[in-house]
């Protein structure tokens, strides 16, 4: 009895009060997290709260300096969430103020030299303070959905009705579904055509504008306008432009005896979707390539012009190879964006006529959120992700170089 008391006494006196305090606070936070989770059956929040308490508590007991960091991050998260709650007006201002005051106080206290010494926090650890909020944020909001998505892909889900584990049936469906195969096919065609055309046009335009022209800045501004135009709006807007009976395009073409069935022919409607995408994204290629061209040292051109006449040979032997790194970046970014194409076909053609422009994302969207076949839609989503990861992998080395 006495020995036990003494051990406890020693433990209590030797452990800095600070840590006891924080430990208690954390315990409180964790327990309330658990209770909240149980009450609302937020499985993830519950799990996260338990994990957080266990890890941080463990670290605190050992005076690990990262425990100090996790506490700080947790507090930062509290501040951010109250902020969001405030914006959303689910949390009254007074509550928010109190929460901030308390967390602010704790943060301030944790910064005290003595605390830092206890945790052996060095100047260098400041780097985690800078990095962790963003990492936590991204993890919190992408990893959970990601895991949830993986779970869903093994389930048959009809929200509100069915939620049943079905092993790999959704995956099997994926390989047997002629519609998804069709979507993949047209998406690939879309990507190949638009990316090629955009880069080619962008290059041509950049060459055209890469000379001493008066008012270049104004032109560039105008060329830039499509870039930030809301894609949904653009999708609709082009409906009017592609209108076949006397829309502005056919209005010109019909007198010439060309009546283009823009949206009524399966082939042409694909062309329309591509045209809109090209309209919106060629400026991007143009801008980037122009920036690349203008960053090429003039002296190299002068050196080369001692050997070649300006024109195609000079372009092929000097300009193009030197532009190559930029072209690769453009290609990568365009590939990624093109894989994600959704807004434009979803509004311009709705995937039609028939399924002629049913691009991948659109099909997945319909499967998941129109027909509520969520398990299968998740499988489709992950398949797309795998494809994109392959693309990224392909460019990985180059990217590492850029961001090293």
């Amino acid at each position: 009895m006495t020995t036990e008391k003494r051990v406890l006494g020693i433990a209590l006196t030797t452990t800095p009060k600070v840590i006891l305090l924080i430990g208690a606070a954390l315990l409180l936070a964790g327990v309330s997290g658990v209770i909240y989770g149980v009450a609302k059956s937020f499985s993830f929040m519950l799990g996260a709260a338990i994990l957080y308490v266990v890890i941080t508590g463990f670290g605190l007991c050992q005076c690990k300096h990262w425990a100090w960091l996790t506490v700080l991050c947790g507090l930062a998260a509290v501040i951010v969430f109250t902020l969001v709650g405030l914006i959303q007006s689910t949390i009254p201002l007074l509550t928010a103020m109190i929460v901030w005051l308390v967390t602010g106080g704790v943060v301030w206290y944790l910064q005290v030299k003595q605390v830092k010494q206890t945790f052996r926090v060095t100047e260098d650890d400041v780097k985690f303070l800078f990095l962790l909020p963003a990492v936590t944020w991204v993890l919190l909001f992408t990893v959970f959905p990601f895991l949830y998505g993986i779970r869903t892909s093994f389930y048959k889900v009809q929200i509100g009705r069915v939620d049943q584990f079905i092993w790999f049936k959704n995956f099997v469906r994926y390989f047997k579904d002629y519609k998804i195969h069709h979507s993949i096919k047209i998406t690939v065609i879309f990507i190949v055509v638009t990316v090629t055309v955009e880069i080619l046009f962008g290059l041509l335009l950049a060459l055209l504008f890469n000379q001493k022209i008066k008012g270049l800045k104004v032109y560039r501004t105008i060329m830039l306008m499509p870039l930030f135009a809301t894609p949904v709006a653009i999708g609709f807007l082009f409906l009017t432009i592609f209108y076949e009976e006397g829309g502005p395009l056919n209005g010109f073409l019909i007198p010439l005896g060309l009546k283009v069935p823009w949206l009524s022919s399966p082939t042409w409607s694909m062309v329309c979707v591509m045209l809109v995408d090209i309209w919106q994204w060629t400026p991007f290629c143009f801008l980037v390539i122009l920036a690349g061209l203008q960053s090429l040292p003039e002296e190299i051109y002068q050196a080369a012009s001692l050997d070649y006449d300006p024109g195609w040979p000079l372009f092929r032997r000097v300009t193009l190879p030197m532009l190559q790194p930029i072209l690769i970046i453009v290609l990568l970014l365009r590939l990624i964006e093109a894989c994600k194409i959704f807004d434009i076909p979803s509004r311009l053609t709705r995937g039609g006529p028939g399924t002629a422009t049913m691009v991948y994302s659109l099909y997945t969207y319909l499967t998941g959120l129109k027909y509520f076949d969520l398990g299968y839609a998740s499988v489709q989503g992950f398949a797309l992700l795998v494809i994109m990861m392959f693309i990224i992998q392909f460019f990985f080395r180059r990217m590492r170089e850029i961001y090293a």
Binding site: E244, E245, S264, S265, P353, G354, T355, A356, K370, D373
Partner: protein, 516 residues
């Protein structure tokens, strides 16, 4: 008396009985209450959404409540409402659904039946007895009312009376086709012959054949193109009979085992016919939505269209239409050959097989159970009943842009067994020549002896969409008619499998009144 003024300045006066005591006494008992109703996007001048905006201020003044109108794109409305309901988010108190949602709304237990308020004098008075049985069927589930009527959808045939009755064209037609030009056409084959005859002929005598089409239809995918097929194919597939059984009076599924009928020869023939018929109109139809097709007809560029009641009303709007006073209308034609499932062959009929349809949404208000939880069900019912009052309904029906179409006795002429007069219409700026045909066509349609059944089982929207997608594939020439319908059947099977075949069958039988 109570006088209300619409946003565009029209004034309607109600008697206290008509408007109900709540509004008549000016107490504004709903003050401080707020309700939210979803409707297809359309804006203040759009179809279905328009009247809500039009009368919002007036109604709010009457009751003191606040009305939120949530416009949702037609392509997304069903899913958004369902998400709200299934997740119990309770954002919406009511919706303006298509009747095809009942399968999900009612069987899911989300809809609130305002049966108890119908006779309540506090609320605006509307009349169940005005509705033909075919429409009553759409607003009820197993005899219980869920909807408050508003729009009545069904497709009828519109034609250019001036052109078809032109003696010169009649002569030429006879010479070319071999029989007298029938006005109105009685069978689909006649429609085809006429449309084909006039297509790309300078029948408006403006010196060019550019915009002189036989027919104007709309087939844009996910934009209600499939309704054309459904109303047309009824004549080829719905075999009249005493009662509903495996072979008679069925259109969608075999009522004994849920086998889709959509890829059976009758449907295939109908689709092949539709594809043929579409060729007598502009190629661009494939990408048209209904508004575009209507405009084409309204501008006087096509001889035929078959569509909803909006067309008749829109014709009267001279800002959009050049054919006021030249409109002919009739119930959809029939077919001499109908497919008999039991005999597995087409049977010849004495008379053309004319089948009435309720194709479309028949967009009307349904109160959601969540409203009851929030205690605003009365407020909503008041709103919906207000819009269903004869005066507002008439006002809506006579204006094309409202998207509200006729279907009640109220809207039909007295001589047709209805309650209106030609003058009622003319007073609202109609051309007198257009009224009789128009109302008669709708009367014939909704009171037809044989009716096409309406799909009202869970997944109803999905059935429509899948059908639409594959139809569009066929119409745009990507696959054959048979292939498209086979795909549809397969998709329908998948849906039923996913949702549970047994349950689906039960609901289907209930919804079409099949008794084994």
């Amino acid at each position: 008396d109570v006088t209300v003024t619409s946003a565009s300045g029209d004034v309607i006066t109600f008697t206290p009985e008509e408007i109900g005591t709540i509004a008549a006494e000016g107490q504004q008992p709903f003050k401080g209450k707020e309700i939210t109703i979803t409707v297809n996007t359309g804006g203040p001048k759009g179809g279905i959404s328009g009247p809500l905006f039009e009368w919002r201020d007036a109604w709010e003044k009457l009751t003191g409540a606040k009305l939120n109108i949530v416009e949702i794109p037609i392509a997304e409305q069903f899913q958004k409402v369902m998400v709200d309901l299934q997740t119990n988010a309770q954002q919406y108190d009511a919706c303006m659904p298509a009747a095809s949602w009942y399968g999900d709304l009612v069987t899911g237990g989300f809809a609130f039946s305002p049966e108890e308020y119908y006779a309540d004098p506090r609320f605006p008075k509307w009349h169940r007895e005005y509705l033909p049985p075919s429409l009553v069927n759409l607003h009820t589930w197993q005899g219980k009312w869920y909807g408050v009527p508003n729009d009545s959808d069904g497709q009828v045939l519109y034609f250019r009376k001036d052109v078809l009755t032109d003696p010169e064209w009649q002569k030429e037609f006879k010479a070319a086709v071999g029989y007298d030009l029938p006005v109105p056409p009685k069978t689909w084959d006649q429609v085809y012959d006429i449309a084909n005859f006039f297509n790309n002929k300078d029948w408006d005598r403006d010196g060019e054949v550019e915009k002189d089409s036989g027919i104007a239809l709309h087939f844009q995918v996910h934009n209600q193109g499939m309704y054309h097929f459904v109303s047309l194919s009824a004549a080829f597939t719905v075999l009249p009979g005493e009662k509903v059984d495996q072979c008679h009076n069925v259109y969608w599924f075999d009522p004994t085992d849920m086998t889709p009928l959509v890829n059976e020869p009758g449907h295939v023939k109908a689709l092949e016919f539709l594809m043929k018929l579409a060729k007598t109109g502009p190629d661009a139809q494939i990408s048209w939505d209904l508004g575009t097709a209507w405009d084409y007809f309204l501008r006087g560029d096509a001889v035929f269209t078959y569509s909803w009641g909006d067309v008749g009303a829109l014709v009267q709007d001279e800002a959009r239409s050049k054919i006021k006073g030249k409109l002919g209308a009739a119930v959809l034609p029939g077919s001499y050959e109908v497919y008999d499932r039991c005999q597995k062959q087409f049977v010849k009929m004495e008379q053309p097989n004319v089948v009435g349809n309720t194709t479309g949404g028949s967009w009307h208000g349904v109160i959601l159970n969540s409203a009851k939880e929030k205690g605003v069900q009365e407020v909503i019912y008041h709103l919906l009943a207000f819009h269903a009052t004869p005066k507002i309904s008439m006002w809506n029906v006579t204006r094309g842009w409202t998207g509200v179409d006729p279907g009640w006795k109220l809207h039909f002429l007295k001589e047709q067994g209805g309650m209106s007069t030609v003058e009622d219409y003319v007073a609202q700026n109609w051309h007198k020549d257009d009224v009789t045909d128009y109302t008669q066509a709708y009367h014939d349609n909704f009171f037809a002896p044989v009716m096409q059944s309406y799909i009202r089982i869970p997944g109803g929207e999905e059935f429509w969409y899948k059908l639409d997608e594959h139809l569009s594939e066929a119409m745009s020439g990507q696959v054959s008619a048979k292939e498209a319908l086979d795909r549809t059947a397969q998709d329908w099977n998948d849906i039923n499998d996913r949702l549970g075949k047994e349950e689906q069958l039960k609901y289907y039988q209930e919804s079409i009144g099949y008794k084994p």
